[in-house]
């Protein structure tokens, strides 16, 4: 799957975020337990997003010795990850809900891998900066 079709698919899905009737017209209603499991997955991703946003605040508040550029840069990286994570949460929820109604396979995603790499990069940068701050 190329990058461009995925972006187009994302934009098409935005319509579905606000129009639940369109999802409900497709296919058949799945077992309510599957829908609730999908809802819990959505909430777990939303918690991840909120934790990333909290991490952005924490960098700003608890690393006051960092230079302004680095502090704001790291905080922004975490906040941006939080925004992406929350938008992706609702998009993935819509796609799973639709796939279950149509009886298709659940959609795969590279997002977890990308997010873990981004969090790892931010964590390593923070460790290096804090130790560099101690040394200097």
């Amino acid at each position: 799957m190329g990058k461009v079709p995925r972006v187009i698919g994302f934009v098409r899905n935005i319509r579905l975020w606000f129009a639940p009737e369109e999802i409900r017209e497709e296919g058949s209603t799945p077992d309510y337990r599957f829908s609730l499991a999908n809802e819990r997955t959505f909430l777990a991703w939303l918690r991840t997003a909120l934790a990333l946003i909290g991490g952005g605040f924490a960098v700003d508040q608890f690393l006051p010795d960092l230079r302004w550029g680095w502090r704001v840069g790291l905080a922004f990286a975490l906040l941006a990850a939080g925004v992406l994570c929350s938008l992706r949460a609702v998009n993935h929820w819509v796609r799973c809900e639709r796939a279950m109604r149509r009886g298709e396979d659940l959609p795969g995603s590279r997002f977890p891998a990308v997010l873990s790499l981004a969090v790892a990069v931010v964590a390593v940068a923070m460790i290096v900066l804090v130790f560099a701050g101690w040394a200097g």
């Binding site: 337990r33 909430l43 909120l50 605040f57 906040l79 949460a89």
Partner: protein, 110 residues
């Protein structure tokens, strides 16, 4: 928390799905509370300016909105009948609260 799920018309759900989903909403609200507390701490840090206070108040309002959404959904899941699936509008509203909180955070951090 009340246990209204034991209705005579419905077989016992051995997976306790509605209960688990209610608790997931509670956990998510708790995480949102932590983020909102950090937001208020940032807003009040180093002498509160008028704009800082305004953004801090907006964060509190967003947290209240999220709490309201969570309570509405928890109430739906507590009813004895088979719970209806989450609506897309409800999910989008919760996500928009989160995104707005991140925007407030960006304003406060800079």
């Amino acid at each position: 928390m009340s246990t209204g799920a034991q209705a005579p018309g419905r077989d016992r759900d051995p997976g306790l799905q509605p209960e688990r989903t209610r608790l997931a909403w509670r956990r998510t609200t708790l995480t949102g509370t932590v983020a909102a507390v950090l937001a208020v701490r940032t807003a009040l840090h180093g002498g509160a300016s008028a704009s800082g206070l305004a953004v801090g108040a907006l964060c509190c309002a967003l947290w209240s909105a999220f709490l309201l959404l969570a309570q509405l959904r928890i109430r739906t899941l507590t009813r004895p009948e088979t719970p209806p699936p989450l609506t897309a509008r409800h999910a989008t509203a919760a996500v928009l609260c989160t995104v707005a909180l991140a925007v407030c955070a960006a304003v406060l951090v800079v």
